[in-house]
């Protein structure tokens, strides 16, 4: 059985169903790029996996442990970390305070090793998150997730609004996580980043995963990409 096994996951907001039965499997150390048009349900899937949107039905198993319907803090302690859309760093906390709060579990990642990877944050330790640039805030959101020493990281459009050099840096961090055996689910609009770091590409449409192939195969099939994503 896969490390992450999602079966027939149904979820949504209030009375509108967004996910109509998602099946998804992901192994340790694997990165899956999740693409899809706006409104396809990518973010809802991420938020449901983190427990921030309660599922209606279905199963989410991480390493054989059922997580569907659990509270987000329980899911986080099971080893799931989130880099959310819009970064959602805490404006009234300094960089150092973010790092301290996130360091709750011992493991490979420590404040020092994360700052080695993202040295810019080290220079900004004393500053409030509100004073950081968009790119620095994204680095901080990534650092916050890493410091929980997760086994599965959910990233929701980490490249959004970032300069190309910073997108490359995010890509390098994802590759490092992967090499450490972390499973990565990457929602992206930026095909370049998804193609660079993901071994496989999945496409969502109308609340379900409709297509999944190795990245190289996806790149050789522009017709399908165009049909599913509206891009060439």
């Amino acid at each position: 059985m896969s490390f992450l096994a999602v079966r027939d996951l149904v979820s949504g907001y209030d009375r509108s169903t967004v996910l109509g039965g998602v099946d998804l499997a992901l192994d340790r150390g694997a990165t899956l790029g999740l693409l899809g048009r706006n409104g396809a349900g990518k973010s809802t899937l991420i938020m449901t996996l983190m427990g921030l949107v309660p599922p209606t039905s279905g199963s989410v198993q991480l390493d054989g442990v059922e997580l569907a319907g659990r509270r987000p803090d329980v899911i986080a302690r099971a080893g799931v970390a989130l880099v959310p859309q819009g970064r959602r760093v805490w404006a009234t906390l300094t960089v150092a305070e973010h790092l301290a709060l996130a360091s709750r579990r011992r493991g490979t990642w420590t404040v020092d090793s994360v700052l080695d990877l993202l040295p810019r944050l080290g220079e900004r330790r004393g500053q409030y998150a509100a004073q950081l640039s968009g790119g620095e805030q994204q680095m901080l959101a990534v650092a916050r997730a890493l410091l929980t020493n997760p086994r599965l990281v959910l990233l929701d459009e980490p490249s959004d609004g970032l300069a190309p050099a910073l997108v490359d840096q995010i890509g390098a961090v994802i590759a490092t996580m992967c090499a450490e055996g972390v499973a990565v689910l990457l929602v992206e609009q930026d095909l370049h980043l998804a193609f660079e770091v993901a071994q496989e590409i999945a496409v969502m449409e109308k609340g379900a995963i409709v297509h999944r192939v190795p990245t190289a195969e996806f790149r050789l099939d522009p017709g399908t990409a165009h049909r599913l994503l509206g891009v060439t």
């Binding site: 805490w90 404006a91 301290a100």
Partner: protein, 290 residues
Amino acid sequence: MLVSVLNGFSIGFLLFILAVGLSLVFGMMDVLNLAHGALFLVGAYLGAAFSGAGWGGFLAALGLAAVAGLVAGGILSLMTEPLRRRSHLDQALLTLGVAFVVAELLYTVFSDDPLSVLAPPGLDGSVSVLGAVYPTYRLALIGVGSVLAVVVYVVVERTRVGALVRATVADREMVSALGVDNRLVKAAVFAVGSLLATTAGVLGGPIYGARPGLDAYVLILALVVVVIGGLGSVRGALLGALIIGQVDTLGRVLLQGVEGAASFILFASLAVVLVLRPQGLFGGPVGMSR
């Protein structure tokens, strides 16, 4: 004039101690706790019960009030948990009901008559401040209040626990996504905030006494402080409390004898802040969105 300014400070620091818990619980968990004034009243009646029993009585009242506050805060946190995703009106109804029950119980035990509370020995006289005669207890209250204010400020703004509280105010979902149970943070802040409210009731005893209606009076003052200062901001609560302390006492001095003038000035200043800066002096746009 000097007396009025000093009065403003003593009331201001008292209001801060009362309002900071209300502000944090509201800003953090979006829970509107209208029983906060009743907690103050519990402290005031405890002070009255031990009034005249010297320092031992005063300290016993403070200790009992602290325990009562912690317990009451924990219970209120549990009671409001099922209403967390419901509207403020539902929370207001529940906590207002609790406030009525608590207040009625207190009047049953202590009677409907206003009770006065003596300041502890040594603080019950008056001293000369720059030529003006001023009650010693109020001066001591300014001292104790400012120390408490500094302690709360340092804990919230400079410690790791305080960072957790601020993070929960800013975005509690992301705190839970790190593996922290929001309910524990809420219960802890609720308990400490309620402890500060009951403590403020004891400390305010020698000024306000203990009487029916006092809970509603201080609740409204605290709500005004919270709105002016900005939800969930300790800095805002401190500044708001000091402003309201001055506005309230100055209004009473300047418009002596005009019926309702003090509360007119109070709510006029609230209106001015709401028009010019609806999120409060220190409230961020984050606090507004939820």
